[in-house]
Symmetry: C2
C-alpha cells in the first residue's frame, strides 16, 4: 500500500537531495580508489568482481609478490583490474587516472578431492593494490599499497620501494606488467603502447 506523502515531505526531499549532492561531490566514482582523511587507501572489497587479467604460480619475478619458490607448495597470484580501467585500456592501450590493479596471493594445494596432480588454489594470504592517482602521487603517478590478508586500510609504500623501481623499469605498459597479461598484449601492441625493450 502506498501512503500519501505529507506536504512537509517536500522539504525533506529537497534536504536529502542536497545531502546526496554533497556526498557525491566528495566520494569517488565506483571503481575508483577511496582514501581515508589521513591518506590511507581503503581496501577494495569488491576486487574479485573486477576484470581478471592473469595468474602465475610460484612467480619469482620481483619484490611485489615476494614469492618464494617453495618446493611442493608455491603461491598462486591472481591479478584483477577495475572494470572502468579495463574498458579504457581496450580503447587506448594504457591506463587512465584512478586505475587500480589488485594482486591477490593464494596458497596452493594438491591431491585434494578428486585432484591427482598439479596445483589448485586455497586460502588468500595477501592483497596488494597498484593505484594510479596523479594528483595524490605527483612524482610517481602510481603507488603500491599492501593490505596483507585482512587490513581494512593501508599506507602507500615509499616512492623508492622495490616495487616502484622494478615496475617503472620493467613494466611493458605504463609501469604495469602487461607482458604477463596475455589478453592485453595484442591490445597494447595494436595501440603502440607496448615497450618491447622492457620485456627483453
Amino acid at each position: 500500500m502506498r501512503k500519501t506523502m505529507p506536504l512537509a515531505g517536500t522539504g525533506l526531499i529537497a534536504a536529502a537531495t542536497l545531502m546526496s549532492a554533497g556526498v557525491f561531490a566528495q566520494q569517488p566514482a565506483p571503481g575508483e580508489p577511496r582514501f581515508t582523511s589521513d591518506g590511507q587507501l581503503q581496501r577494495p572489497d569488491d576486487y574479485r568482481e573486477w576484470i581478471y587479467l592473469s595468474s602465475g604460480l610460484g612467480m619469482t619475478y620481483g619484490a611485489a609478490v615476494e614469492a618464494v619458490a617453495k618446493a611442493g607448495a608455491p603461491d598462486f597470484d591472481n591479478v584483477f583490474v577495475t572494470r572502468r580501467a579495463y574498458r579504457a585500456f581496450l580503447e587506448t592501450g594504457t591506463w587512465p587516472d584512478k586505475t587500480m590493479l589488485a594482486l591477490e596471493v593464494r596458497s596452493s594445494a594438491s591431491k585434494g578431492s578428486i585432484n591427482k596432480g598439479g596445483h589448485y588454489q586455497e586460502g588468500m594470504t595477501g592483497l596488494e593494490i597498484h593505484v594510479k592517482d596523479v594528483a595524490r602521487f605527483p612524482a610517481t603517478k602510481w603507488a603500491f599499497v599492501s593490505f596483507g590478508a585482512s587490513a581494512r586500510t593501508a599506507k602507500a609504500l615509499p616512492a623508492n620501494s622495490g616495487c616502484q623501481d622494478c615496475h617503472s623499469r620493467e613494466g611493458a605498459v605504463d609501469e604495469t606488467f602487461v607482458q604477463f597479461y596475455p589478453t592485453l598484449v595484442p591490445v597494447a601492441k595494436a595501440k603502440g603502447t607496448f615497450k618491447v625493450a622492457a620485456t627483453k
Copy 2:
C-alpha cells in the same frame, strides 16, 4: 545535421518496433546461453569479462580438461562464471537455470621478461562451457560444450560423457567443482548446499 522524418517513417518505426519485440522475445538475456537453430551453443565471446572463480596448474582431476602433467610446461586452467549466475549463487548457494561456467586452458611459460622461476600464462588453447539449461537438457540439466581454441559454435557432448559422469558424482554443488573455487566454498557451506561427501 538532422533530417526531418517523412510521415511515411511512422509506419517504418512501428514495423521496426514490432520486429524488435519479436527479436527480444526469441533472444536470451545478456549472460544467458545462445543456441543456433540446429542446437549448437554459440561461443560466448565475452567470457573473460565474467566473474573469475579460480585457476589451476597442471590439474589432472578429470576428463573435462584432459590436462597432461607435462614436465616443465603444464597447462593453466582458468574458470569464470556469468555475472548473473554468480549473483544468484551468492544469494542461494547454487546455480540458476541458464548458468554458464567457462573453463579456459592456457599454456604456461617460465623465465620470460624478468621472470626467474615459476609459471605464468600464455596463449589460449581451449575453451569449454558447462551450461545449465533444464528445458534443453531435461535428463541431465547440464551439458558440456568444447570449443577448442577458436570454434564459433559447438555441439554439446553426449549425456554419458566422462565430464558429465564425473561432475555429477564429484561436484560439491549442483554438479560443479565448487570445492576448487575458494571464494564460493564458504557461501555454499553457509547456505547448506555443499556436499561434503563429494569432496572426500
